[in-house]
């Protein structure tokens, strides 16, 4: 089974569909406000130890401090740059490998065991070796991000290429299309939905890669800053990069969903 299992296409996370009814919006906002309010009150009244648990107002003060010193924007810039570079490298390489595996059976069979192994391995554990190879910091974080991201993109591209209707390829060939035309005009457009789904999974994995890379092997960025503040028990300051990561996660996921919707609308 290990070798012959093949790799199944990955589905993006199931996300609940938001109905844009105003009632749901109001209730949703109310939920967040209630959560923050309860937390604040619990810290103020002393039900929870505010030093350990912090509180929304303390986090706001910590954010203001990190913002004014310019540190927050600096960390954010580093993290976003790592995320972008890691993701783009993975997208280019992953799509190329996926197409190669999809078009050629021998390539598929040869790479299948490695793809499977990399996909099921917690690659974070390899970070010490990468630090030895690439040094501490930017390059290592990008390498960890790349390793986490490239596999889902390659696997999904591969499944996308496999799902292409052969008659489409024949049609391009009949009209005298070259091998390049076949890939650019038939294979890529037809496998687009699965490739995009791969991008969506890849984006969330890339963010995990940045967090892990920075926590373990970096001297800059939001993840690095969290570990520094945690070591000094500055809980409110830990929450600033943490909340930033949550917001980046939401924004990138929404962007990917929007992109999927827009690029697929041409089909109908």
């Amino acid at each position: 089974m290990a070798v012959g299992s093949g790799v199944a296409p990955l589905r993006p996370l199931a996300l609940p569909k938001f109905r844009s009814s105003s009632e749901a919006t109001i209730l949703g906002i109310l939920g967040i406000v209630l959560f923050l309010g309860l937390w604040e009150v619990a810290a103020q009244v002393g039900w929870l130890n505010p030093v350990i648990l912090s509180s929304p107002s303390r986090i706001a003060v910590a954010f203001a401090g990190q913002w004014q010193s310019g540190q927050f924007l600096g960390d954010l810039g580093v993290s976003l740059a790592e995320l972008a570079i890691g993701f783009v490298l993975s997208a280019v390489f992953g799509v190329a490998v996926g197409i190669a595996m999809g078009l050629n059976r021998i390539t598929e069979y040869a790479l299948d065991p490695f793809v499977w192994f990399l996909y099921s391995t917690p690659l974070v554990a390899l970070y010490p070796l990468i630090v030895v190879w690439l040094g501490f910091g930017f390059a290592t974080v990008i390498a960890i991000t790349f390793m986490l991201t490239v596999i889902p993109i390659a696997v999904n591209t591969f499944s996308g290429v496999r799902s292409v209707d052969p008659s489409l390829v024949c049609a391009v060939r009949v009209f005298g299309g070259s091998h390049k035309d076949v890939i650019l005009k038939a294979v890529l457009p037809a496998s687009l939905p699965l490739v995009l789904a791969g991008f969506r999974i890849g984006l969330s994995r890339a963010l995990i890669g940045v967090v892990l890379g920075e926590m373990f092997s970096s001297n800059a960025g939001l993840g690095f800053r969290m570990t520094v503040y945690a070591a000094h028990l500055k809980t409110a300051d830990v929450f600033v990069p943490l909340v930033a990561f949550v917001i980046i996660g939401i924004i990138t996921t929404q962007l990917a969903i929007m992109l999927e919707g827009r690029l697929q609308s041409w089909k109908t």
């Binding site: 996300l15 609940p16 065991p113 969290m226």
Partner: protein
């Protein structure tokens, strides 16, 4: 025939990789303490097993994993069903839960260490938190996609609310729940190892951290493979459970 060709080509490529690795490592074309080589890795595995170091640490990690993962399945399914059935609660909590679900859970590791200490407790919590959100949200989506006629059929035969849940809702949403459990499993393993590597007293992740500061590639590779095999066994077990349920489903239809 096709399967056997897959097996042959796959085996050849893995064998070629191992031979190349052995050659490059042993001949010191690349410094072997950076990449090790297969026979050394095998020797290290035997050594770590024989001294009992691997077994002791693996049992700590396993225990943390199950103490976090089993409750996350139970609570994840229960919360998911409740969220799907109680509309006001769902609308109140949806944005908040989705936000935490989309966020990288591992970013919570430093704060959990502050809250729950450096021992096993903070690892159990990270496993629980990593796994519960995919399970809960998948259950919630699965339950709300159950066809209304099913529920009406069960009700019209006089089922009470509890029976509707156990006879229609849970079986009907089982594929989505299993998908959620599989997603949660992967996240939980990564979270657990990362948390142990971040700070801990014992466990596989702790071993990785210790050997990495000594730049011992062969030990690290052994540990990475051990984790990968554990993940693979879990996924295979889940698949077999799922398949068994699948045959049950097709029997019904």
């Amino acid at each position: 025939m096709i399967l056997s060709r897959r097996l042959v080509v796959g085996s050849i490529s893995v064998a070629a990789f191992l031979v190349l690795w052995q050659f490059v490592g042993q001949r010191e074309i690349v410094r072997s303490d950076l990449i090790s080589y297969p026979t050394e890795v095998l020797g290290t595995f035997i050594h770590l097993t024989a001294t009992g170091e691997l077994g002791t640490n693996a049992s700590v990690t396993l225990q943390e994993f199950f103490e976090g993962f089993v409750p996350s399945i139970a609570f994840g399914v229960i919360f998911g069903v409740v969220l799907a059935l109680v509309k006001p609660l769902r609308e109140l909590l949806d944005p908040l839960l989705t936000a935490i679900y989309t966020a990288p859970t591992i970013a919570f590791i430093p704060i959990f260490v502050v809250w729950f200490g450096v021992g096993t407790y903070s690892k159990v919590v990270i496993v629980f938190i990593s796994a519960i959100f995919p399970i809960m949200i998948n259950t919630r989506v699965g339950v709300s996609e159950i066809a209304e006629p099913w529920l009406r059929a069960v009700r019209s035969f006089g089922a009470d609310q509890l029976q509707v849940v156990t006879k229609a809702i849970l079986p009907g949403s089982m594929p989505a729940i299993m998908a959620g459990i599989r997603l949660g499993l992967g996240r939980a393993i990564v979270g657990l190892i990362a948390a142990e590597m971040y700070v801990s007293i014992s466990g596989i992740g702790r071993m990785i951290q210790v050997y990495s500061s000594a730049a011992r590639a062969s030990e690290i590779i052994v540990l990475v493979v051990v984790i990968a095999v554990f993940g693979y066994v879990c996924v295979a077990l889940l698949r077999s459970v799922e398949n068994r349920m699948g045959t049950w489903r097709s029997d019904l239809e």
